[in-house]
Amino acid sequence: MTFCPCNTIDELASGGASLGGSADVSTYVPAGVVLGGSAIVEVRPDPWDGMVFVLPLDEDGTTFLDRTKNHLDGTSDTATSPTIDAGVFCLPSQYFDERDFITLPQDTLRATQGFTVSMWLKLDSEFQERTFYSRGIEVDGHPMTFSFGHSFLNHLWAKIVLGEEETVYDAFSEPIPSGKWFHVAASWSPSEKLRVFLNGILVGSVETPETSMLATTNGSQLGRRNQSQSLTGNLQEVRLHPVARGSDWLAAEYSNFCHADFCVQGETIEAVSE
């Protein structure tokens, strides 16, 4: 049997995946069996599989689409909507000013699940305590469980509320300058650490022995925490990962954007039919 690598099924395969030879099926095949043959079956074409949300923030308006299948689209109202602005790669970002913020639906993270939030950031203020991303909104008894922003002196500042005691942990970086784009990230590993990364480099951490964070019962916000700490600056490509990423990953994410030699375009040839 000749292997048939290009015969890829990208979606649902109902009624069987392969009827002869051998099969390599990566996802489920409802109502079907693999009887043989040679086939590669990939199900659900979603480049962002494995992410909680991916928000490029490249829209001009009050809706900001999540590119994952979770559809955790951000929304704002006209009065407090950020303004589309140039960002990394000269592609759009959102400029937050005054009381601008974006509301996100409740995500799917479990309380015991490690996570990472990463984004591109350019601050446009100093001597203000501001928030990039906050998970949970303290209204009507809902708790705020995590926030990522900067301090009065522009330290990156991650804050998480853990355990039944609702212990608050903070992790800081050194101050970062305003007016310059940075790749920033914060991650939490249950029973390990809350970490802060700058351009893929670990720049701050705190040990967090708890195994669960305070459960979130409502949505999240970009550009503010609860009703305040409104950001002055740009955000772009905000991603929530359902795992705690390390420097290996985040440095690659940073380099993928910023280092021209990370992914190199080679020659283009006219495709050949065999």
Binding site: T2, N7, I9, G15, G16, L19, P45, D248, A271
Partner: protein, 455 residues
Amino acid sequence: MPFDDNIFWNSNEQNAKKLLQQGRKWGKKPEAQPDFAPLSDKLQEVAAKLAEQGIWTDPQVSEIEAYQNFVRVWDAVERGDNITLSALSGGYGYGDSYDETAEGGVLVGGGSRRSIIYTEDGTCGEVEYLDDDCYYTDSDFDSHTVGSTGQVHITATAFFRECTLNLYDSDSTSITYYWTDGTDYVELYFSEGLIRCSYSVDGFIPYIAEHVPDDKPDMFNKLDFGFSFTWYDINVIWDGGNCVFGTLPCQKVATGGLLAGGSAVVLSGDVFHEVADGGVFAGGECSHTIIAWESATGGLLAAGEADLEVVQMVGGLVAGGSATVSTRLSGMSLGGMLAGGECSNTKIVLETAAGGVVAGGAATLPNSAGYLYRTTLTIAAEQLTADLHSFYVGKVVALPVELPLDSTFLVTDIHGNIKDHEIRNFDGSTVWIFFRADLSASIDNEFFVFSGGNP
């Protein structure tokens, strides 16, 4: 003129041509009552089956005439009707245009012809038997006007003696066709010129095609090219024996299969615009390139051989035999892409393929995947400090040529495994593409971005 039964069942091209020649001569019947001959045994069976299915029960709706082994069924077809003709099996089909559903086979053999005029506004319902009018009494059919917006889909056979048909194209310009049954050719006079057509099937079709007036391309769209399409339709609907045909205007539903057997030689690119439930080719061989724009439920090729160019197939692409899938295999292929035999494939199934991709046999696939250009992306191992699983690579790719903004792309690794991707920004000359891939920190990671062609 008697027919040779064997002609219908032989499977070589010459006999098919001979059959057509006989059909032309046979068309010079006296204008009196047709010379009915007793039904053959096979046609007796056909008649019985038709009666069972109710086709014959109302003489106002349909009637049948039998000339030895030639059966003609005329149906008063209205839009939306289901026409069941599956009882007709074997023999030679003189063609019809089916703009609606015909379940159980368009014409599974037999000798059948029917002419229908449709109007494009959806009301349709008008059924005319042009071939009959022309055939029996020239004077009975002097002209027929279809309306300024009407789409005329005329089915006629080579049984004309002489008739004139006045039609109107979309801008109400009168176009006059003269169909003259000469000694060995038919002449079609357009207001813009002359088309002279041989009766020979393999000569007739290209000859017509070469003489389409340059300034009237839409005329053929609007009028469906009248006579010439007749031939195509005739031969598309075929069960058994040889089938030699050209462009296939199979525009609507044909449940039960288009070609149920025999071998088919298609002389030019064929287009199945719409649905063909039950399969396009159910058997035999097909030296053929198909552009199937829509679904062919039940399979495109159930057996035999074919060169295929497919967009969307429901029910399987190739159920047996061998196929050269040259281009454009994208979209849905429910029931399997290749259920048996061999497949030399330059394409991939981009979307749903339920029921299997390769169900047997061998398949070889080049890496072009139907796109014109392949651009290599490399992430050197030294760029990474650890292997990364399901990393989201983003890359602004400079494209080799300016591409339409509705272009699609394909990302694979060097083994041809497709990587899910998202186009974030595409301006025709550059594309910011994201794809998910495992990255190695020990060996360089190479990927291909395919562009151009939009398979």
